[in-house]
Structures are given as structure tokens and as C-alpha cells.
């Protein structure tokens, strides 16, 4: 039973590319574009904490599972790649 539970959880997980699509949607709603380069600085593209929170909610809505926001410690999130890494990782918590 336990291993089945794990497998189901993995099936709901979003890939890095899927999260990237959601991130593009967040920006598109504000008439902004997500650059293809993961190294793009969030400050330069205007992706702020409100946008980050919205993206997390979109991930939750897609997977139907709550993210455990308290699990990981504080870290520096400065680039598009940081955001994607963080959310991919958060799904494992």
C-alpha cells in the first residue's frame, strides 16, 4: 500500500517543463513574457513574490495536492531556474 501511495503521488507531480508553462501563464496574464533562458533574472522580468505565490497555487490546482510551503528552509530565488527548481523540489516534500 505504501509504495502504491508513493507512485500515485509521483503521477500527480508536474515536470519542470509543465511548471515553466504555468509560470509563462502567470506572466502572460500581466502582458509579460517569460524568457527562454533559465538564467534570466526575476527582477528584470518583473516576477515578484505575488507572482511566485500565484504560481504555487497554480501548481496546487494542477496536481490537486497542497504544497508544504513550510518544509524547505529559506533560500535565494533570483532566476527563472531557481523558481522551477524550488517548485519541483517542493512537490517531493
Amino acid at each position: 500500500m505504501h509504495s502504491l501511495g508513493c507512485r500515485l503521488r509521483r503521477m500527480n507531480e508536474l515536470s519542470r517543463a509543465q511548471i515553466r508553462d504555468l509560470m509563462a501563464q502567470v506572466l502572460k496574464n500581466q502582458d509579460k513574457e517569460l524568457p527562454a533562458d533559465d538564467a534570466a533574472q526575476l527582477r528584470e522580468i518583473g516576477f515578484r513574490s505575488l507572482d511566485f505565490s500565484e504560481l504555487a497555487l497554480r501548481v496546487e490546482d494542477e496536481t490537486g495536492e497542497e504544497l508544504n510551503f513550510d518544509a524547505p528552509g529559506l533560500r535565494r530565488i533570483a532566476t527563472v531556474g531557481d523558481v522551477l527548481d524550488f517548485l519541483v523540489e517542493l512537490q517531493h516534500q
Binding site: K28, N29, Q30, L50, E54, A56, L57, E66, L67, F69
Partner: protein
Amino acid sequence: MTVATTRSAASGHPEPAGVDNRVVVGGAALTWRSLPLPTLSDPVAVLAHSAVHALTAARQHAVHGTELLLSTASRVDAAMRTELLEAGFTVGVLDDDGLRPHAPARPRAADPGRLWLLTSGSTGRPKRVGHTLDTLTTVRAEQPDRTWLCPYAPGTYAWWQVVTLSLTQPGQHLVVVEPDELDDWPTVAAAHGVDAASGTPTFWRRTLYRDAAALARVPLRQITLGGEPVDQAILDQLREVFPTARISWIYASSEVGASIVVHDGRAGFPVDWLDREAPGRPTLSVRDDELVVTSPYHGAGLAGPIRTGDRVQVLDDRVLITGRLDSDEINVGGSKVSAGVVRGVLTGHPAVAWARVTGRRAPVLGRMVVAEVVLTPAGPGDTNVPDEGALVRWCADQLPEHAVPRRIRVLTEIPVKETLKSDV
């Protein structure tokens, strides 16, 4: 009791002044006088089987002063039933066969003239509030003759407002719709010449959403809104359909009675009404963003300033009532957002028929503003249906950044409860 009365030839008891007003219920045109007077225990909690049974209980109270709590069965759960039996009420369903009584656990003498209302209560647990016909009667000045729609659930404060008006004032007729007729009320109302109607903003939005053309065929001269925060958009939409009707909104509750009545077609009330004392009139104040009312029409056992639990916001020269204090305020990363204000912006969009705004748990900020909306039905060839992004941008143009709802879910139907509210 200060309501005018006439003698009932049959019983020798005084009849209320409106006894010959027309009452349309279940499609039948009657008068208060032609309704049967049921035999009731005293004190009694009547669970009305349908609208007509509720009206007969109301008339019985008006004639005999029976101590009465009136409700529908669905609003009285097992715990409340036990509480009522413990409090000395005979409890029973009233239908065509009369009252099917359950004897009280602790019988007691009745308190003549006493009416009890069950409030929905901010805690979710219904609470009993004591009134009389007199404290429930808030329209006392002589009114032009009107035929009123009564869409409310029997025994609620709003229901009593319409019922006492018709019972106590000659020329105030009543057309009652049952819950299963609610979606089709404009047809019933047009057929019986309804020219005055009172409903919650949710009720009006739902009616406009379902069939605005049918609504326009009802010859309304008086439109009243209450029971929920009233925003500018719904007032404007009703004005568009009824350019010459008087459109009023009322702030009333079973605790403080009808305290605010506004006829100028604008949301909120003038800021200079605050802290104005006049004999026989409620005094309105604001303490810590909460509306406080000192009213001559409050429920029994309540006195002095009453904290209403409703949140207010002063915007220019108006005081807006934005929602319940415990649910209206959303804290987004330390910035306070009023759900009611955001809701007002969303419903101000021409394609939005209804909106609910709430806070949702989110990383970094703690909570985030999210919304559910129902869009107005698109006309043929109408390509101007907004998507989530368009609604987000509409809000972003009018609200501070942290107040913009980021997730907006589109529902297909306006949710409504028995109270005709949406819990927005």
C-alpha cells in the same frame, strides 16, 4: 402593540389592519382574512410545511398573540429542536392537517405577543432573538398601494419585514413564491401585478443572469435590496432595467432591526449620517472598522450600542458596508484587503454577473486573494467573453497589487442558499 386593528366578526379578536389585503400563495389569490386560523399550542415553534402554512401561523399570531417561533423544518436541526423543547415550546410541523405537536420537555406559561426569530448567527449556530410584531414593523409611514413579492424563507427577518408590512398596512398586498418557484418568479410576479420586490443582491443578480427580459416585464416601481453587502454594480444594473423605479437598499438584522435605508441609488450611505442622534432613530457609528448600531428596534434583551460584526470602509463621502468582519478582511503579506471591495470591482466588469472573493493559503505571503465568478450569458455572436487574464488585468487597473485576485475560477451557476444569500 401599536399596530392598528379591526374586529374579527367571527372570533371577537382584533384583526390586523391589513386583513383585507390580497395574498397570492401557491398560485391562489386569497386575502389574509380568508386564510384559515390554525389551532396552535402556546408557546409554539411552528415548522411550516409550505408558504401558505407560514402565513396562517403569522395571521394566527397577529390575531391571538400566540408566542411563536416560525421556521421551516430545514432550518431546525435535531439539536435546535431539543433546545426548543427544553425552552418550553411545543414543536411541530404545520401542514394541511394542522399542527403535529411534540410536547415541550419543560412546559411553561406563554409570553403573549412574543415572536422569536432564528438568526443564522455569525458562528454558524442559529440563535434565538425575541421580537414582537411591533418591533418587526419598521415601515410605519403611510405607503402608496403596492403588491409585494415575498421570495424569502418563512420566519426569517426579511420574511417578517414583508409580512408585517402587509399585515399592518391596508393596500400592501403580497405575492409569495415557494422555493421551487423561485427561478421563475418574474412570470408569477408579472401575472399578479407585483410592483414592489425585496431581495438580496444575490437574488437580484441571479434573476438578471437567468432572464433579464422576463424581469423587465414585471412592472416594478419599488426595488429593495438587503441582507448582503450592496455594491454599485447591482444598483446600476437594476437601474438600467427599471429607469423610473425607486431603488432602495436596507441594512437590517434581527439584532438591530432596520437601521439604514438608502434611496439615492448609490452604494453605501452618506458619511454625515455617522454619529447623528435623533429621537426614535438608530444611531450609526464605526469602531475599529466595525459598524456599531444603537437602535430603538433591536431584539429583546439587547440594549445600547450593538457591534454588528459587519465591516465598513469610508470611501470619499460614503460609508460602504463591505462584508462580515471575520471573513471580509484578507491579510496578504501584512497588507489588509477587503474582500467586499475586490468583489465590487469584479462585479463592476460588464461581463461579470456574480463574484465571491476569498483568501487562500499561499507561500511567502501567507494568504492570497482568489475569486470565483459567474459570467453574464453571452449573446449571439458575442466574442467579448473575458478570460482569467482579462479579469486579472481589469482588477489590476483599479486595485493595489496585493488586492488583485490571481486565481479566478469561472462557475456556471450563481450559488444561492435558502436565505437567498451566497455567503459572498
